[in-house]
Subunit: 467 residues, 2 copies
């Protein structure tokens, strides 16, 4: 060990010690962030989204960053940066917006009053909307920056932080923002903290993501709600029409029947498939904890393929007619389904939407109309295998968790990763500390205290390793 | 003409004149009734239902009736009666409760602020929730009683009025009320005013009604809402399962596929069918005004059969997953459909419910559960052909409208008619003055001023004729 290595090794130990010593104060800051109900999909919370952006900006200014909250046609984008002249620069991406909280009655405590909790097997948790997705994860990075700054007085790399407020509603304004601020966002590598660990003890780096297409289908029939006694039997019911279309999308084998849907899907390499088989990813381990017993998708696929490398059609919400208490004997004028497709490999959101539109048209009775929303979409993404930065980050995670990190794909969609590639010419490392039982997007969302604490320590090690 | 006939003819003319002269005051009373938002399906309006019952009680007490508002486990039942010792007694049934008003934004004016309106072809209308169903119709009868009382000092028959407050939610408490008050409700004939005219110029007497079965189906899958990125492709989506079940209920020919569904359906007599064919009841006249072009039901049936003598399966409402603004990428834990069957001939609600339960079970994936509500039901009903009272009422209607009334069936369900038969051993004449364009159960419900005015005059004539 050279004396310089010894010095920086000791500096690293001191920084990690600072993370440990500062945990309570770090939690207090996270709780303050979690108290802001920055729900981006509901226009009623626009002010709270601004507040969340401003809160994070202040934290970073306190750490010596220059920070700008950029107005957009939607919720603001925060960009904060250091300019110490370090040889390398990382661009960190996260989001300050959170999912809606309904059904509110299923929360044990109010979603925006964060509290410490405990899992059945004794793990300490942080419970609040956004605890895991994504405020808790964002704060692991910011707390790592704080520990490095306060211990060593500087950062090992220059850092640009980009926090957006529309991730949960499809990031409609992010692409144009990235395009118009491309020069300012230049970096050597992008880091995204919005993914999960393999399990509570094993970190992971996500190297592939499914793409997504959001859309909404409304079927219209009668010009007004009709009395089902007077018209029932003769009048077309839009709920029946919509149900038939939804039912037709999957065949008995769980395959999507939209013509051309699988055209641009590619099979994972044999090596990846072999690695997946070895992971022992079973219905017992994956589905049983959420009350299910058997995979519902394509019957000739591995479970891990279904959630990582196969595309999907999913109804996220449906409504039509009378949905209040009691009954109301009507044939409704309209019925609506909120739809998302998960896309893989080369599937093009625009092409998939067009194919689905034809599919609907072919099934529409003569006296019905339909409206299919334009749709927000993003293609799937795959990180190039074994880049030097990936190797460095893997080693850093192994040092922290004392176990080899797993390199996996994710079924979720983080469109920004594709945009970084396309608009900023940047590779992205997706490293996050979420767990399968975090109840992301559900009531009683939580983030393990260990994820928060060791996540922060992990970023300290990764930033040192990337230098 | 004997001198007695001449006297009563002149008395009738005077009474009808009193109806004409009192129209403005009668409208003011109806408006007061319409201002009470007595929505029975929503527990939030319980007080307003009581208020509506009390309002009608006071009106009848003012006319010399004795009136009792009976508490029930649900909304109260009003019974008001005269006991003059007239040789015959009629039991009049109506309901003071109204349908919910959503979607509220489609109302041109607030639903409980009644106003006069005008149709495109120049007919004057009364616009409010309940204007036609059933407050306006109930008030035609009460205003006829008022005109008779004020002009002649007495009624030609004794009258018992029964106004219930749960017609729009399936009358759960009425059967037991009828059973326990059977002696008090004894009469020679029942009159129900909750049906429509054949067209704006032709009155009708309804002689058959479809029965009904209300129920609600909830499909449960995952134990909580899941992130559709992480679980999509592998986790069972209850909306898909529910849609498939709904889609399976009808075959390509529009027939219901539930085993045994048509077992107890009987064909209408050839004579009735021939009369129906002569009515020229077409998609053009019946469906076009509500924005539709072709009958949606069984393809081998007449349109009039579809809405009068054939049974139906209808989804009145559906909901599941995220239904707020924007999108939320979840696989929901549950999805629910509000269902009503229209029943005909000998179909038994309990048997139909059991058959549907088996149908659902046969289509349920291994890892889903379902809940099917017990269901409220009523069998279909048919009035015996050409009773003396029917003949008398027909003649009275002809005298008022100067055209032969049409004897028809109705696709709607008025369970009380079957209960009168079963529990009170009473025949019922269904005479009402609603029109097809009344938007019953829909926004901007209306009742023609002519229906209200000539409806009142009709009852004066009918009560004289039944004496």
């Amino acid at each position: 060990m050279t004396s310089r290595d010894a010095a920086s090794s000791s500096e690293l130990e001191q920084t990690l010690q600072a993370v440990d010593d500062g945990l309570e104060a770090a939690l207090a800051r996270l709780f303050a962030f979690l108290r802001i109900p920055s729900i981006s999909t509901d226009p009623a919370y626009a002010t709270q989204c601004q507040e969340a952006a401003a809160w994070a900006a202040k934290e970073l200014v306190d750490l010596g960053f220059s920070a700008t909250v950029h107005a957009t046609p939607g919720h603001p984008v925060l960009v904060a940066r250091t300019d110490s002249g370090a040889p390398r620069r990382v661009l960190f991406y996260g989001h300050y917006d959170v999912q809606p909280v309904d059904p509110l009655n299923l929360w044990h405590t109010p979603p925006f009053e964060p509290r410490m909790g405990e899992t059945e097997d004794g793990r300490h948790t942080i419970v609040a909307r956004g605890a895991a997705d994504d405020k808790g994860q964002v704060m692991t990075f910011i707390e790592a920056l704080r520990a490095l700054k306060t211990t060593t007085g500087h950062l090992p790399v220059d850092v640009t932080l980009l926090l957006e407020g529309e991730e949960e509603c499809g990031s409609p304004n992010l692409p144009s923002f990235l395009e118009s601020h491309a020069a300012e966002l230049k970096a050597d590598i992008a880091l995204v903290c919005d993914t999960g660990m393999w399990d509570a003890k094993t970190p992971s780096i996500t190297t592939s993501l499914r793409g997504i297409l959001h859309t909404e289908l409304t079927i219209s029939g009668p010009s007004r709600d009709l009395h089902s006694g007077l018209y029932g039997g003769a009048a077309r019911n839009p709920i029946h029409v919509l149900s038939k279309i939804i039912a037709d999308v999957h065949d008995e084998q769980g395959r999507v029947t939209i013509p051309g849907f699988y055209d641009d899907v590619v099979e994972p390499p044999a090596e990846i498939l072999a690695r997946w088989k070895a992971l022992n990813f079973t219905p017992e381990s994956f589905l049983k904890p959420v009350g299910l017993s058997e995979p519902a998708g394509e019957q000739d696929r591995l479970l891990i393929e279904l959630v990582q490398s196969r595309p999907t059609f999913e109804i996220n919400g449906i409504y039509g007619g009378y949905i209040g208490g009691g009954s109301k004997t009507i044939i409704p004028a309209t019925a609506t389904a909120k739809i998302s497709f998960r896309l893989v490999a080369d599937q093009d959101p625009a092409k998939i939407r067009a194919a689905f539109e034809q599919f609907v048209k072919a099934r529409l009775p003569a006296d019905c109309q339909f409206d299919l929303a334009t749709g927000e979409g993003a293609r799937a993404f795959m990180v190039p295998p074994e880049s030097a930065d990936l190797t460095a980050a893997s080693a850093a995670l192994k040092a922290e968790w004392q176990v080899e990190p797993v390199t996996i794909g994710s079924g979720g969609s983080i469109p920004v990763v594709g945009q970084f590639r396309k608009l900023l010419d940047l590779d992205t490392l997706l490293i996050g500390f979420g767990l399968d039982d975090d109840r992301v997007h559900s009531p009683n969302e939580k983030y393990d205290l260990t994820s928060f604490h060791k996540g922060t320590r992990s970023w300290v090690r990764i930033l040192e390793a990337l230098a």
